[in-house]
């Protein structure tokens, strides 16, 4: 780094602190928004992506996991026809019906006098799955048992974290008191969390006799997934089928498509704030040192040298601001979800690299106007006392 740039920068520590603070704040905001987006993206699509289900079959009009306005036959004549059709497909390894419905529930504590103490309302993603195949069931059991029967449920660990629901507790939903027998991971959709019961019990609890929400299919390792999707859709126009990737993408889109424009706008504002703070401080620093830049010109330094001085000051400010901003981001994301459960973040190295590039661009732009000012300095002015 050039001596003049370093000395100028560190001689005015208050200004440096303001400048670095401004960039750090901007970086923090950008990083938090990005990591929040990544966290939500991971959570919302993660369950579909991480399950063993290769193809999701729904009724026409439904296209994602969360808006499960799908109703498929799971019994009777139609159900048997569907089952025969699926059984006849050579590429299928296993299939099963899956009931999914969003509902509200509460944690219930029975007090000594027999009274029920009702906890806070929880948004649940109520899932009835076939335990024989396990398709669409809990991804991983981290506490208790994994195969709920009767009025037993397995809840996602996010429910335990947010509402203190654990093994042995009662959860009241759909008029039934469910006993928690296990805790699983991977079922946090940020706004809702999974609660798993057996498929038969879910049908009964939700009055969905001979009906189900989805049919989930696991293909053989060499099975033709796109071919099977096409076969399903051409067999009956009332049914649609999606590959795992399509279904995950659709699920993400439902939640994040409304969030992305807001995120982009705030990202833009954060960029402008950082640019304005670093630009203004670099500009005022340059104007204050205008006479000194004139001296340097007079004694034989070229404009390119002066540009480097300003650019280096701006870049060092940017690098310091970036380091502080990223450090703060990592610190905040470590603890934020403990205080605000919806604050689900995921800091990816590629995003850090992206923000580093954004900061460099910010610093370069911040130096542009001061550099233009340098070009117009007349070195003859230094002869004036």
């Amino acid at each position: 780094m050039l001596l003049v740039a370093r000395k100028n920068l560190f001689a005015e520590r208050t200004r440096l602190a303001i400048s670095v603070g401004g960039v750090a704040l901007s970086v923090l905001l950008i990083m938090l928004l990005l990591s929040l987006y990544r966290g939500w993206d991971e959570k919302v699509g993660g369950f579909v992506e991480d399950s063993e289900v290769d193809v999701w079959i729904a009724s026409e009009g439904a296209k994602d996991f969360l808006a499960a306005a799908s109703l498929l036959p799971a019994g009777g004549q139609e159900g048997q026809t569907a089952a025969s059709f699926l059984d006849s497909q050579p590429d299928i390894e296993a299939w099963s019906p899956l009931v999914v419905r969003q509902m509200e529930g509460v944690k219930v504590e029975i007090e000594d006098d027999g009274e029920e103490k009702i906890g806070k309302e929880m948004n649940l993603q109520f899932i009835g799955y076939d335990q024989a195949t396990g398709l669409g069931g809990p991804l991983e059991i981290v506490d208790g048992e994994g195969d709920p029967t009767g009025d037993e449920v397995v809840v996602d660990e996010a429910l335990r974290k947010r509402y203190g629901v654990g093994v042995g507790d009662l959860v009241k939903a759909g008029g039934t008191n469910w006993t928690v027998t296990g805790v699983s991971t991977g079922g946090d959709f940020v706004a809702t969390q999974t609660v798993f019961v057996s498929h038969e019990r879910a049908q009964a609890a939700l009055s969905m006799d001979e009906k189900t929400t989805f049919v989930v299919v696991k293909m053989k390792p060499d099975g033709d997934v796109p071919g099977f999707v096409e076969t399903v859709e051409s067999a009956d126009p009332r049914f649609v089928a999606f590959t795992r990737e399509e279904f995950a993408a659709n699920t993400r889109e439902r939640i994040l498509s409304n969030v992305i424009p807001i995120l982009l706008m705030v990202l833009g504002l954060a960029f402008i704030v950082g640019l304005a703070v670093s630009g203004l401080t670099i500009y005022t620093a340059t104007v204050e040192k205008q006479r000194e830049y004139g001296i340097l010109k007079a004694v034989g330094f070229k404009n390119s040298f002066l540009y480097r001085v300003v650019l280096e000051q701006s870049l060092v400010t940017g690098v310091l601001g970036f380091s502080v901003g990223v450090g703060l981001t990592i610190f905040i994301t470590l603890f934020a979800s403990d205080f605000v459960p919806q604050f689900v973040t995921y800091v990816r190295p590629v995003d850090i690299a992206f923000v580093a590039a954004v900061t460099l661009v910010m610093s370069a732009i911040a130096a542009y106007i001061p550099v233009r000012r340098l070009a117009s300095i007349d070195p003859v002015a230094v002869f004036k006392a």
Binding site: V4, R291, K297, A298, V299, G300
Partner: protein, 280 residues
């Protein structure tokens, strides 16, 4: 390196005109001037005479309208902005009235900063800067910031900086104007030492009467031309050198005193005894 004939700064028929045809102002008019190695040339003249224009053209900061300027034998007249900074940095040392040190750099760093790459390399550059500071008597002020230096010390640092690249030509603009009598004299003697011992051409633009003491030659610039037939005197109030002809004057105890303007004349008249001894 000095030109073989000893001429460091040469100006031949240099004219500088500011403005366009209707509002043209002639700042320098067909100037002939040489400054040789080993001499101190002092340029004096009234305000608006063209001294700053002379200095900026000599300092490769401004191009003349016509005429030729050479420094150490190199014609710089038509050199573009790409080449002139190198000439300024390598061939000319500047000493300014208001010192013009960089405030965030120490005294030593101010000297090292201007060194060209071949001189600034590693310890050699630092040693040269220290040597120059030592010549200026500033061994104990190497790491001081300019704000902690006296005026005289600042000007000595500025002179060390001017010598950093061992240039042939030193241009000094009112080098003693911001210094008291003692510090001003020290600086004058240093400039003379530089000319005589280091064999540089030192060109000083000044109003200060005291600077005559170190001059090898004094030239009078007025209305853009050098005049040789000028009788000058020292203003007893502000110590400026003034041209006798046309200057306000006062006779006191049989001696004629000349002034740069009415203000100094009035001050003198209020308490002449306060100034007449000094003038003598």
């Amino acid at each position: 390196m000095a030109a073989s004939n000893g001429v460091i700064l040469g100006m031949d028929g240099v004219t500088k005109v500011y403005g366009s045809v209707d509002s043209a102002t002639v700042a320098l008019d067909n100037i002939q001037f040489n400054a040789n190695a080993g001499e101190v040339v002092v340029i004096m003249g009234p305000s608006g005479a063209g001294k700053t224009t002379f200095l900026t053209i000599a300092g490769a900061l401004l191009q003349p309208t016509s005429g030729t300027v050479t420094i150490s034998g190199q014609d710089i007249t038509n050199m573009g902005e790409k080449g002139l900074p190198d000439v300024r940095r390598e061939k000319i040392g500047f000493v300014f009235q208001s010192f013009n040190l960089l405030e965030s750099l120490s005294a030593l760093e101010n000297v090292m900063l201007v060194m060209t790459k071949d001189r600034a390399h590693g310890e050699a550059g630092k040693n040269r800067a220290k040597e120059l500071m030592s010549i200026m008597g500033l061994n104990n002020r190497l790491n001081s910031l300019p704000k902690n230096l006296s005026g005289g010390e600042k000007q000595r640092v500025a002179i060390a900086r001017a010598l950093a690249n061992n240039p042939d030509l030193i241009l000094a603009d009112e080098p003693t104007a911001n210094l008291d009598a003692k510090r001003g004299r020290e600086v004058m003697l240093l400039l003379r030492q530089i000319a005589y011992e280091m064999h540089k051409a030192v060109v000083i633009v000044s109003h200060d009467h005291r600077i005559r003491e170190v001059a090898s030659r004094i030239v009078w610039l007025e209305d853009g031309t050098f005049r040789s037939d000028v009788e000058t005197a020292k203003d007893p109030v502000c110590s400026r050198v003034v041209e006798v002809a046309g200057a306000p004057q006062v006779e006191h105890i049989g001696v004629l005193f000349y002034f740069c303007g009415e203000q100094c004349q009035k001050i003198f008249q209020a308490t002449p005894e306060k100034f007449s001894d000094a003038a003598a």
